[in-house]
């Protein structure tokens, strides 16, 4: 969905992930001209695509870090956000599981750190208590830490909702817009895309995830390096063995929170992620050895977890920066640039607070913020056929017949929902998948892909060979019989 960019914006956000989305929405509450530039075919297709969907409680990181401050603040904002933006979210609680007195000692340290950070209602549990809370846990468990304020969300629905709310409130979104050059002219930034389009703005917010270093370089701002750290995860079907009630963490290491067992808000189970640094920002491949690693770790906590229940695997990249804290600050090297870099875990949790923090940085730097009286807080809830009872579904179908036509039968997604996703700008198979869940179920698109291709074609009039999985280069169909006929 590319909108026309024209005139001079007050703020342009580079990167439409969880941070870009939160910042854009926050800024859309004020009388400002705001635009978001996203290089992929859809929002949330970068770092935010492969997220575990955990709302962290705030005990993992030291008190004096920016990430902790923003994590604690962000954690508390999710009820209100869910109420306004209607994405799936549940505060199921987090358990850190210890298997020895030494590990229990680490839990105790996390408890103390959490209390110092201001996390409420943390509890240390002994073996009996923790097993009473979570009966899928291994009988070898020694004890652990319980953080009732931890939760789970569906990350892409969250980002989509942030962006939708921002655009509803006047923010311009341009997808397939990749920054190539930037010039300062008469006190204003002129950003140029790889496609030659220009965008003028007073302020630039660099929320470009894995490529924040590249964007910073283009802007002549701070030099730093984003080192990608890959994480592989496995998704288990609904009804999988060993699905826990809480998000289960092992005791963390120096570098990583460890490999988790996560009950997703959709009823599936995620295990992982792994964590290892890589050179290649684009290498999101998974490997057999990591599958074993992930499952060995998962089974240690929950013996019933089985790789037989795997429905898919994926990998994501954490954008790590030296020092490992969030780098969110006004640039001291380039004028009118806000850096939002190195946002790895707990980025998702912190994101609403990052939005506020960046807004405050801009305010302190002199950007005039006048509240917009017509700001629309709420998004209307989109019907989710899967969650409806017979009567509600019947009423819905009377309103629009397309709600009765089930396209994805594994996740019970109707044609109307797919059309809604397309009309909101999600015209790739992945975009539609993340918006509606069509293609995420047990058959992984075997029975619905051909229907979705037809619907996209009908709604957008795109030729079939232009329809992609996630943007140009990932076309689904490479030709048609009709064209073969025309060629001979």
């Amino acid at each position: 969905m590319t909108s026309r960019l024209c005139g001079t914006y007050d703020v342009v956000v580079v990167g439409a992930g969880v941070c870009g989305g939160a910042i854009a929405r926050q800024l859309s509450k004020y009388d400002l001209r705001v635009a978001i530039l996203e290089k992929c075919a859809d929002v949330s297709f970068g770092v935010s695509k492969a997220n575990s969907g955990i709302i962290h409680a705030g005990f993992h990181h030291p008190t004096d870090t920016l990430k902790t401050k923003l994590e604690i603040r962000g954690n508390m904002m999710f009820e209100k956000l869910q109420h306004e933006l209607k994405f799936p979210f549940e505060r199921v609680g987090i358990l850190v599981v210890a298997f020895s007195p030494e590990e229990m000692e680490t839990c105790r340290n996390l408890y103390l750190q959490g209390c110092e950070n201001g996390v409420s209602r943390l509890q240390l549990l002994n073996a009996a208590k923790i097993r009473a809370m979570e009966d899928v846990l291994s009988p070898d468990v020694f004890g652990g830490l319980y953080a009732p304020t931890g939760g789970i969300i569906e990350p892409y629905r969250y980002v989509f909702a942030l962006i939708e709310s921002a655009t509803l409130n006047g923010v311009t979104l341009a997808t397939r817009w990749e920054l190539a050059q930037a010039h300062r002219r008469q006190g204003v930034w002129e950003l140029v895309s790889t496609g030659g389009e220009t965008c003028r703005t007073r302020w630039v917010v660099n929320a470009a995830g894995l490529y924040a270093d590249k964007v910073s370089g283009i802007l002549g701002a701070e030099e730093f390096q984003i080192v990608p750290r890959k994480g592989e995860e496995y998704l288990l079907r609904r009804g999988a063995q060993g699905c826990p009630r809480h998000v289960l963490f092992p005791v963390p290491s120096h570098t990583s929170k460890g490999m988790l067992v996560i009950p997703t808000v959709e009823g599936t189970v995620m295990v992982g992620p792994t964590a290892h640094e890589t050179d290649d920002k684009c290498d999101v491949s998974t490997s057999a050895s990591n599958l074993r690693l992930v499952f060995d770790n998962a089974k240690r906590m929950v013996p019933a977890i089985s790789s037989r229940d795997i429905i898919t695997a994926f990998a994501g990249m954490r954008p790590t920066v030296e020092g490992q804290d969030f780098f969110i600050d006004i640039s001291s090297m380039a004028s009118n640039v806000v850096q939002v870099a190195g946002i790895q875990s707990p980025g998702l949790t912190a994101s609403p607070a990052i939005g506020l923090y960046v807004k405050d940085l801009l305010k302190e730097a002199g950007l005039k913020l006048t509240e917009k009286p017509g700001f629309v807080h709420d998004l209307s809830a989109s019907p989710v056929v899967r969650d409806l009872d017979g009567q509600s579904l019947a009423k819905l179908i009377e309103r629009d017949r397309a709600y009765g036509n089930i396209v994805c039968r594994c996740e019970r997604v109707s044609e109307a929902q797919i059309v809604e996703a397309i009309r909101k700008g999600h015209t790739t198979l992945d975009g539609i998948k993340f918006y509606t869940r069509a293609g995420m179920g047990r058959c992984q698109g075997g029975f619905c892909s051909y229907k979705i291709l037809r619907i996209i074609q009908r709604e957008t009039h795109m030729p079939i060979e232009s329809i992609t999985k996630r943007g140009p280069g990932s076309e689904i169909v490479l030709g048609t019989l009709e064209e073969e006929g025309a060629r001979t």
Binding site: L481, E482, G485, A486, T488
Partner: protein, 120 residues
């Protein structure tokens, strides 16, 4: 006389490997029945296959119809047949069994519609 050729017979699940020594003299070894000998000789003389494909219609709802050759066709003519089928457009309605191509390249092989359709 051409070199001996070994064929896998597909007339029954056994799948005998039949080595044809002379087509004209009907000499072969490895077959365990008459059908096997006949199949192997025919494979050497003139291998044929039944071709199944789909053909474009003039309708936007039912865009393709399944078609097949009514007899096996010489292998060397399969690609030319397919190429021709890809250029065709069948007008609906058409009946099941309806002929859409007659006597392809004078082989006596016709292309028929497996299942016909009414226009939608």
């Amino acid at each position: 006389m051409s070199d001996a050729r070994t064929i896998t017979c597909i007339r029954c699940p056994r799948g005998c490997r039949v080595t044809v020594l002379s087509v004209d003299d009907r000499k072969a070894s490895g077959q365990t029945c008459k059908l096997g000998l006949e199949y192997a000789l025919e494979e050497c003389r003139c291998p044929r296959r039944t071709v199944t494909a789909v053909v474009r219609t003039d309708n936007e709802k039912i865009r393709y119809l399944p078609v097949k050759t009514d007899k096996p066709l010489k292998k060397s003519l399969i690609v030319p047949l397919l190429r021709q089928l890809y250029t065709m457009k069948v007008c609906l309605p058409v009946e099941s069994g309806g002929v859409i191509m007659t006597d392809f390249r004078q082989t006596g092989v016709n292309v028929v519609v497996s299942v016909g359709a009414e226009p939608i």
